[in-house]
Symmetry: C2
């Protein structure tokens, strides 16, 4: 889900509100999901005025490293940031201060540490004001450790997570104002996020909230063998032409298996085309709910689509 052409955080707010509305509609319980937000701009401004003052070009590689914090932990991230053969190569004390910064959960403190004129903190404040108008501010927290791995983000970044902390991110995204240009298009500001559909499925399954989507069709048509196949195919084609949804058994099968398959198919009625039936020019129609049986006349010849039913 994305918004193209809007440079202001009104777009981020609209998307985060839509994210919650989508999860609400899917039946994810309110307390189970929160959104963490941070800002690439706030992070970049702070680092460029601080530990990256001499080496601003190391910023993308630093983002890739610190995005692993959740997975590999503080010490391993410091190893990556100080690795003499790596791309970032910070002194150990600087690397530790970066990881300390990521532990911030107080937006005012993070803003205070940013250089004067950084737009990151102001944008986040504006975002929270807008989220309050949407009525979702209490479901969103500032979390400096949200970086998102991809290099193209330029502003606010966010991810939805399960409050139990058991799953990967439920949704993730942010602002990428230069992406279209980078790919050869016109400059166009943009924000977007992706749904983690597999994670949402896991979450709903764990809460036993997955809807049971029972397959429902009108008819299951089958014949015993090849002698009756032409009649069964013609009957299925005719039922479909009448607008019914029909599963046609493609192999021959006996009554017992056919009824099991018909049940599995979710059909309302099973149409049996056996040798006796074909000899009498009918199909037996069994209502799979009531168990009642009736007969339907098979079309006498091709082109005769005026079948009728008798109880």
């Amino acid at each position: 889900m994305d918004v193209w052409g809007e440079p202001r955080v009104t777009a981020e707010a609209e998307l985060i509100a839509a994210l919650f509305q989508a999860l609400d509609r899917l039946g994810v319980p309110h307390p189970d999901v929160r959104v963490r937000v941070s800002s690439r701009a706030l992070l970049e401004d702070t680092l460029r005025a601080g530990v990256l003052r001499e080496r601003p070009e190391a910023f993308p590689a630093l983002c890739v490293a610190i995005d692993k914090l959740d997975k590999i932990g503080r010490d391993a991230v410091i190893e990556l940031l100080t690795d003499a053969s790596g791309l970032v190569r910070l002194p150990r004390a600087d690397a530790a201060s970066v990881v300390d910064w990521l532990a911030l959960r107080d937006l005012e403190e993070a803003t205070r540490q940013a250089p004067a004129g950084s737009r990151g903190g102001e944008e986040l404040r504006e975002l929270f004001e807008l989220l309050a108008c949407y009525g979702v501010a209490d479901r969103v927290v500032f979390d400096a450790s949200v970086v998102r791995g991809l290099a193209y983000y330029t502003g606010i970044v966010f991810e939805a997570f399960d409050t139990a902390g058991e799953l990967r991110a439920i949704c993730g995204g942010g602002r990428y104002d230069h992406l279209l240009e980078t790919l050869g298009g016109s400059p166009l500001p943009a924000v977007g996020f992706g749904f983690g559909d597999a994670v949402i499925l896991e979450l709903l399954a764990a809460r036993q909230l997955l809807p049971e989507l029972r397959r429902e069709i009108d008819a299951f048509v089958f014949c015993f063998g090849d002698a009756e196949r032409a009649a069964a195919v013609a009957l299925a084609a005719q039922l479909r032409a009448e607008g019914q949804s029909v599963e046609l058994a493609l192999g021959g099968m006996r009554l017992k298996r056919a009824l099991a398959e018909a049940d599995r198919s979710g059909a309302r009625c099973a149409y049996l085309v056996g040798p006796d039936e074909v000899a009498r020019g009918v199909a037996v129609v069994r209502d799979l709910v009531s168990g009642e049986q009736r007969e339907r006349r098979l079309s006498a010849a091709k082109g005769d689509a005026t079948g009728g039913e008798r109880t």
Copy 2:
């Protein structure tokens, strides 16, 4: 669309019938589409008993070459088949006989040229009988030149094409009984085809049959500027909570542009939240069909979801 687990041509017939039903439902006119069928087995049996008697391993490379017949023409295919540095390396007379075989449109003649015991011709005859039961046999033709480029096909192959001959294949597929096994799965017979969605769009567009899918939403909400943004966001959130589909203008805009955007959005009503309206605690609601205006009271405070409307 595919059928797994059915080794017999009942599966091919069902899929080709479904292909026609899908195109019919999409509104493609009957005379505009035909299906060509052939059989990889018929081709392979014929060649292995003939020009490839000494070099059966050249069959896949030969298929790739002759699949280009439509695009590059007879002479270029013969060049590929006789190329001394290629994979097939047929004598010129043999290559010409292969291309002659591809020109066959008579199933009986093609079957007569196949070695005794080849299942290909028999399967195609059975397919046509079944297609007659589905009522679509007159929309399907035998065409020996249908090969399909992919190496995994093992039996019947087919493609839907526009009778005007202007477009690429509309659908294409066939039987691939060994594919799952090749990929490390259990042996399981299979038939399937892919829809050329872009080609179908072209066909419908050329016939001016593309449905006009007008966007329809309930409301377009906008404010002039930031002073009224909080009220506009809260109103949009409230309308959405009431179940309405709402587009919220993410930038500020004046009345004229807003009404144009509202029209483009397909909204039934435009909600104007200007400075005068906010001062009076209302939004102006304009019905974009009738042009009538009424007012809707803005919620006095957060949590107050009991807005009302006055005409």
